[in-house]
Structures are given as structure tokens and as C-alpha cells.
Symmetry: C2
Subunit: 243 residues, 2 copies
């Protein structure tokens, strides 16, 4: 704790720590701004500025009249950020998901590193859960994914019958494992269709493929998930605003 920091930033850190400690879940409001100002002995304007920062960082969301709430990432439309793909009727619905396989196994070193597993865990052969998944819009397989989860917080998913997996995983992480995804970081590259791409996505061998590697984080910066998604480059389109 740096005494040179302004009060509102110190307060931000204190509240961020309580968020990281899971003191509130996305459906429970934080204390009101007045309560916080009294509890920490600062003016309400200072509390507001601290929460401004947390809001900009994506940790909380404010609703006038209701309160301030922990924010959950909502990437329902995330595939559509990268792939233009519409159903015949022009609608955008979350793609269907088909789990092809689930394995419980110690991860390759590179993936253990991406999951920020400790040296001890890696040496001890700590297991992970690997999901292989196909995402389908209409009848067309669009993207195939491999998803790696640390076993401990997600053990409930190691035994769940495959048919009970929903189309969207993040709500399941929250409902079944109490894990809230707060943010993610992604890396895009271009590769070539491998044998599985040819078979599962019906691509020509060697066709260009967009590869998206995503690391998803909790509010306390624990890595919750590492996934790699592959889809035909022909469908790829991505738009950015630069300021």
C-alpha cells in the first residue's frame, strides 16, 4: 500500500481486494456509496471516484436506483466479433455447441504455463479438464475449440454427463463451480488447416485458418480457462475502433 497514492485509488484497491476475495457475487449489490463513505471515513465523492475506476476496469457495473454489482463477462456474441456468419433468416443466435470429448489429464507444459500452474503442481502431474467442442450455426460447423480448465475449481465438470453441458460455458462455470469470468485476453494468428480441421470443419487441406487463443481471468486474476479456437479464415472479419 503506497501512501503516495491518492485516497480514491487506495480505496479502489481496498474494494478490489474485497471483490477478489469473492465477498460479493454478481447478483448481490455492493454496499451503497453512502455506507462505503462512512465505513472508510471519506467523502462520498471520493467513493464515487474509486468506483468510477472499478467500473472502467470492468470489475463492477452501476445501475441507478438499484445499486452497484460485480460484473460478469458476457461474451455471448464473442464468435461474431471475429466471424461473419448469419443464419438464413439473418438472425444472430449463439451458436450451438457439441462437446466431442472430455478428458482429465495432466496438461502439456505450454498449457500448464498458460494456466499459470505452479512448478509444484506441474511436477506433481496435477490434472486438468480438456474439452473438445464444435460450434455450429444452423447446420454448418463454424469453429472448433479445445478448452483447458484447472481441475480443482472445476471438478464438478469432470463428472457431469456430457449431454448436460449447455451451449454457453461461462454461465455453467458460475452456476456449477462458483467461478466468475471477469475478463479475458486473446491472441489472433493465422495457420493452416490440419487434419482435424479438414475433417470437422470440412476445409481443404492447408486452407488458411484463424487461430484464437484466449486466456480467461477471474476478478482476482486467477486463470480460469485457456482455450484455442480455430475457424475458416474465409469467414473471418474483425472491426476495431482506434483512438
Amino acid at each position: 500500500m503506497d501512501d503516495r497514492l491518492p485516497r480514491y485509488l487506495k480505496l479502489r484497491d481496498e474494494i478490489a481486494a474485497r471483490i477478489a476475495a469473492l465477498e460479493w457475487l454478481p447478483d448481490q449489490p455492493l454496499p451503497t456509496e453512502l455506507d462505503l463513505s462512512q465505513a472508510y471515513g471519506v467523502a462520498i465523492g471520493t467513493v464515487r471516484k474509486a468506483i468510477d475506476v472499478l467500473e472502467q476496469e470492468g470489475h463492477v457495473e452501476r445501475f441507478q436506483g438499484r445499486g452497484t454489482f460485480i460484473r460478469r463477462a458476457s461474451f455471448d456474441q464473442s464468435l461474431f466479433r471475429f466471424f461473419r456468419f448469419q443464419r438464413a433468416d439473418g438472425q444472430r443466435r449463439p451458436p450451438q455447441s457439441r462437446i466431442l470429448a472430455r478428458d482429465v489429464l495432466p496438461p502439456p507444459t505450454a498449457i500448464a504455463m498458460s494456466l499459470k500452474m505452479s512448478i509444484e503442481q506441474i511436477a506433481a502431474g496435477a490434472p486438468t479438464i480438456r474439452l473438445s467442442r464444435l460450434r455450429i450455426v444452423g447446420e454448418q460447423p463454424l469453429v472448433r475449440e479445445q478448452i483447458w480448465l484447472p481441475h480443482a475449481p472445476f471438478s464438478a465438470l469432470a463428472d457431469l454427463p456430457l449431454p448436460e453441458f449447455a451451449d454457453l460455458l461461462y454461465p455453467m462455470y458460475e452456476a456449477r463451480c462458483g467461478q466468475v469470468v471477469a475478463r479475458a485476453s486473446e491472441r489472433l494468428t493465422i495457420g493452416e488447416a490440419d487434419e482435424d480441421d479438414v475433417e470437422k470443419l470440412q476445409l481443404a487441406p492447408g486452407a488458411p485458418v484463424v487461430v484464437i487463443e484466449r486466456t480467461a481471468f477471474a476478478h482476482d486474476n486467477r486463470v480460469l480457462e485457456w482455450r484455442v479456437s480455430r475457424g475458416a479464415a474465409a469467414h473471418f472479419s474483425y472491426e476495431i475502433e482506434i483512438r
Copy 2:
């Protein structure tokens, strides 16, 4: 002007209009917050909130002790956002630019639309300036670009001898034409190497190519430039934070 809008947003709009009217250039400070609060008859906190918004939108930049200034876009590193490419010594320097050609001509309709030219202008065959450019890091040609500019504001560049073009265009737009780029929007897709790519970027025919279309805007939302950049997909890598 909507009377239901809070005061700080109305004030934001007033200042934004003055920015759009080029009342200040990036090196001249805006009036101080105290001056603005007196000029508009609001409290200084309200002025600060209005400027907060303008700062978030990327219109202005604040410097404690110096003042508040119009922001210029600085995409010096913009190619490196998309292409991993290092010099032998690991440094990242802005790529060199070689202008291959400059033409003054009426644009194809699609590009006239992208430049937001009016129907009348298009019908009258209003000219544009087209630059063909190669961007080179070390000895390696990395990206080739076609850049289209509306003729009127950029006429100074229609006559400038090609050797006087600098590696970075946006500072030239400002210095020679008084045009400040405030923001841009980009669209990424994947294509195949065409004949020019094969020749100028030394790619195999049909090799995957990343295509970046950029529209650059002034503070008043005039389109200043439309450009398309093409580079080998093999060098492509892009990272995003999602919140």
C-alpha cells in the same frame, strides 16, 4: 440540443463543436477549467466532468500544470499491432516507407463512398489523390498500402515531390495540410496473395494475406483518408483485452 441532457453533456457538446470548428490546434491549450466554468456559468466540477468525457472519447488530453490540449492520433506503432516483425537487433522502429506511385484521379465508387464523398462530387468526377506505398523493415518489404485522400484538403500533397514524403504520413497531413487525424476505424479480413503481392511482397501465389481497411477521421468526423494495407498472414499476430 436536448434540454433533458445533463449540463455537463450539453457543455461537452458545445466544446466538441468548437473543437470540430478547429478553434484550437494540438499545440494550443484550451481555456482553463476556471475560465470555462465562468464563461458558461457552471461550477468547475461540471466543466471537469464535461472534459472527462471529451478525454475518454479521445478528443483531448490533459496535462497537470500545463493545460488541456487537442489530441492527435499517434499510430506510429500501428503496424506492430498486427504484424510481429523485429529487426535483427530486436528494436522496434517505425518501418521505412517507399512511395511507389502517386496519382490524381476520380475514385472508384466504392472508395468514393468510403470517403463519404457527396453524390454531387462523385457525379462531377471530383478527383482524389492515390498513394501506393511499400512499408519496409530492415530490407524486407512487409506491407503494401494503397491510400486515398480527398483532393481538396490535401491538394498540397498532389504537387509535392515524392522524395519529400516522410515515413509517417499523419504528421505530414498536419504540417502541410492542417488536417489532424483524431481516430480511425479498421476492418481486418483474410485474402489471397494477388499478382502485386507476389511481386512486391515476395509471396507465393495464393498465399494467405491479411487485409486491413482503415478509415481515418478528423475531430469533426470528416473522413480524411481511406487506406487498405496488405501483409503476409504468416507474420500476423494481434492481441486484445476483453472486458
